[in-house]
Symmetry: C2
Subunit: 483 residues, 2 copies
């Protein structure tokens, strides 16, 4: 049996430490062990006898601590076997969908995002970048791009690519989408410089300055900033972190305001990772048809699904009303800067806009990625990544569960982040500079709203491996919330 | 001495072939030899005795033909040495700057550019792409990018780059610009997805829909299309192909219309390759200051200078009025899709716009290019390329000189193209589909004007090697012009 070295007490011990009972100390020590992966998800804890010896505690103390952790859903007692590290989603309180339907207004988002982006930390709680080995999928991708560069011939470098993008890559992407019930002809798909670029082209194609656009609330901050720059009015549609944009709320908004376009992310929308039920998808499309509205689908998180990725909204699109936008940034690499768009009835205009604002994309890069898709490397990468992401989500939830206070957490089945609702009097905008000073970067709730809602919320990402320094950062954050 | 195989008569022989004198036939044969690089620029022709033997002609016939070629500036007689293949720019008629100053108007450019771009042929007269070896500069560039990809570490792929771009690349670009008298701090330079993207960001930052923007006429078609999409009004400022935008015309326009921004390309502007005199540059800046106008400098052709590249307008900018835009597309590779922008007083807004429309650029790609600049490979590439471009220009001019009709040609000292003015009754828009049918792609004059001027003009590029098939395409074109 493995012997563990004694686990130090958490550095961020409760303020009542002096009066703590021994079982409470032991509970914290066991939790720290789970967070630091001494015992990983699904593993069996040492026997009660071993724990008594290791922590110099009585059998009653150990049992008391274990039962408390079991009650929190962090351990599971299996008869005649022992205690296993586990996670029962039922033990977590989901965020409450209770935001208001506000009239349309010009967007006015702060410079916070620029600051976060400059720290390269939109999806991390640490400001620096760790070194270490690349995952095998990225090694294969880089090899594939290197090969495509070496295969460049003749005067290739003297030509711009077709503005629509390399046919080989578009074919692979259409094949990839067809596995999700979405049959697209190759000429209905164009390559972009990422999903943000695709969303920009979509909005430029179907809206003009002053138009009203409906978005999820809470929703993607990058989109709010884009709407602000394009001088579009935004209306926030309440979107529970379990089921995504509320069709009733959208219908109520449509009855009151002329909404030109609606941007929605049915598959694991950020920040909460909501998965939209099929019936809601169908209702959104019906509303779009009734109100002559464009549906812009941000599909970027679909390939992070822990199970089979859901079909895109575009698969249900009978009348060319859905503009599908996506990229490899969440499923493969943020550094690739390649995305795609299928613009429905606006596709020709989108192509023209891409041409005049950027001419073309890199042919060699596209060829490298097309090869990576064709030889099955992308599928292998996604299989490995799903498992890792699920584990990283579980470890984040386990760490958050023991935070003090009355918070609620989303439990997504895909995506890269959870949404945390703290006590109503918490203020994550005030927390941001404090956390930064303590070496932790957070993404405060108000960033996900054009009307400054969600001051007591924040997004936490599980995109990264839970190294000891990230776990430490989570503890630091917890300490800042309950001084 | 090298023996030459007999040179066939040109396939596109004059319609008066039957009545041709022997010396005229010989003149055409020698010209064909020069075009096909049997005798390259600077090389000595075979002796008169050898030519007599080779072409079975009398000494008087050979001398007559040689003198005619000398009179056209294609050969130079050097005493006691022989005839050398040469090119005297003075022998060429420059295009006449005589276009009108039209009131501002919304741009409405045709779908022609999209068609040309889809044929990947904006800078070639052949629709296909040749295979063959890459030039050493591009091989080194691709190796450098491959190395940067292999050096990617840790979680790099999980992070977006700083929206401003990789500091290492920005430092190298600032160093590169400092050699042209332009001292820029690194934080005043941002990386873009090419020069077109930089121009788009510049216009978004300093104009709003309906504003009037001054452009060169003839000028870059991609810019006209961009202005159209951004719903900007354009005023065309007459721009001779020798000296570029006319400051007097700009001043006259400023007196009559409120011009928000002026886009100018002082170094080898397309289509004619004009190089703006220093005095004109200074006057443009003074006008910008007097009329509170933004100067957007398209610097993309500067590094194609046959001699030392001229200083950018930005080097004279005292008040942050110049937005410098450029990229590697003309000097290195169209497939790289990396450009840069220095936005003066609009720089912060430009950075924000880049962030919200695209998030970031690829860090690995930027690192590869930064290394390529740092180890001197870019300088070596430019040195080799200058020589080639100059030779390719000379061969194009030599081929155009013998076209029938009364045409005029620009003789740029950099850039990738010449501007050809045909007889006034020529119509290059009608010529486009005819040429396409004959396997030749042209860039018709009206593409370079928002008001449909220059119907009798066309741009011809010397970006490519003059292979026999390209020379044949030129002859085909000549035949279509004089049926």
């Amino acid at each position: 049996m493995t012997k563990y070295s004694p686990i130090p007490a958490p550095t961020q011990s409760p303020s009542t430490a002096d009066q703590e009972f021994r079982y409470q100390q032991l509970e914290q020590q066991l939790l720290a062990g789970i967070q630091q992966q001494r015992w990983r998800l699904g593993e069996r804890l040492p026997s009660i006898r071993d724990l008594c010896q290791q922590f110099e505690a009585s059998k009653a103390t150990v049992q008391h601590a274990l039962q408390r952790l079991e009650a929190q859903g962090l351990l599971e007692a299996r008869p005649k076997s022992g205690f296993y590290v586990t996670l029962r989603p039922g033990a977590i309180s989901p965020p409450q969908a209770r935001n208001r339907l506000e009239p349309p207004q010009p967007v006015n988002v702060s410079q916070l995002l620029l600051d976060i982006m400059r720290r390269s930390a939109a999806f991390d709680i640490l400001p620096g970048r760790p070194s270490g080995d690349l995952p095998p999928g990225i090694v294969a991708l880089n090899r594939s791009i290197g090969r495509a560069l070496r295969r460049q011939r003749g005067d290739d470098y003297l030509y711009y690519d077709d503005p629509a993008g390399l046919p080989a890559l578009r074919e692979q992407l259409c094949l990839h989408l067809s596995r999700r019930g979405c049959q697209l002809p190759v000429d209905q798909l164009a390559i972009t410089s990422g999903c943000q670029h695709a969303l920009f082209l979509a909005l430029m194609a179907c809206c003009k300055a002053g138009d009203v656009v409906a978005v999820e609330s809470p929703g993607f901050y990058g989109l709010l900033q884009l709407l602000e720059q394009l001088q579009l009015q935004v209306i926030e549609i309440p979107s529970p972190t379990s089921t995504g944009m509320d069709p009733d709320a959208l219908e109520a908004a449509l009855a009151r305001w002329p909404i030109r376009a609606c941007i929605v992310s049915p598959a694991f929308s950020t920040p909460g990772g909501a998965l939209m039920p099929d019936a809601h998808r169908q209702r959104l499309l019906t509303l779009a048809e009734q109100h002559d509205m464009a549906m812009i689908e941000d599909d970027i998180y679909a390939d992070t699904a822990f199970a089979t990725p859901p079909d895109p909204l575009k698969a249900l699109d009978q009348h060319g009303r859905v503009i599908l936008c996506s990229s490899f940034s969440k499923s493969l690499s943020r550094d690739l800067r390649l995305g795609w768009i299928s613009g429905g009835r606006w596709h020709a205009r989108i192509l023209h806009l891409k041409l005049v604002t950027q001419l073309a994309s890199s042919r060699s890069l596209q060829q490298g990625v097309a090869d990576f898709l064709e030889d099955g490397s992308f599928s292998s990468h996604l299989r490995r990544q799903k498992y890792l992401l699920r584990e990283q989500r579980d470890r984040l939830l386990a760490a958050l569960r023991i935070w003090p206070g009355n918070h609620r957490i989303s439990t997504p089945e895909g995506g890269l982040a959870v949404w945390l609702e703290l006590d109503q009097d918490a203020d994550t905008l005030t927390l941001y500079p404090q956390a930064l000073q303590a070496g932790v970067v957070i993404t405060p709730g108000p960033l996900f709203s054009a009307s400054g809602q969600f001051h007591h919320c924040l997004r936490l990402s599980f995109a990264h491996d839970w190294t000891p320094s990230r776990l430490q950062a989570l503890q630091t954050l917890s300490g800042l919330l309950v001084p």
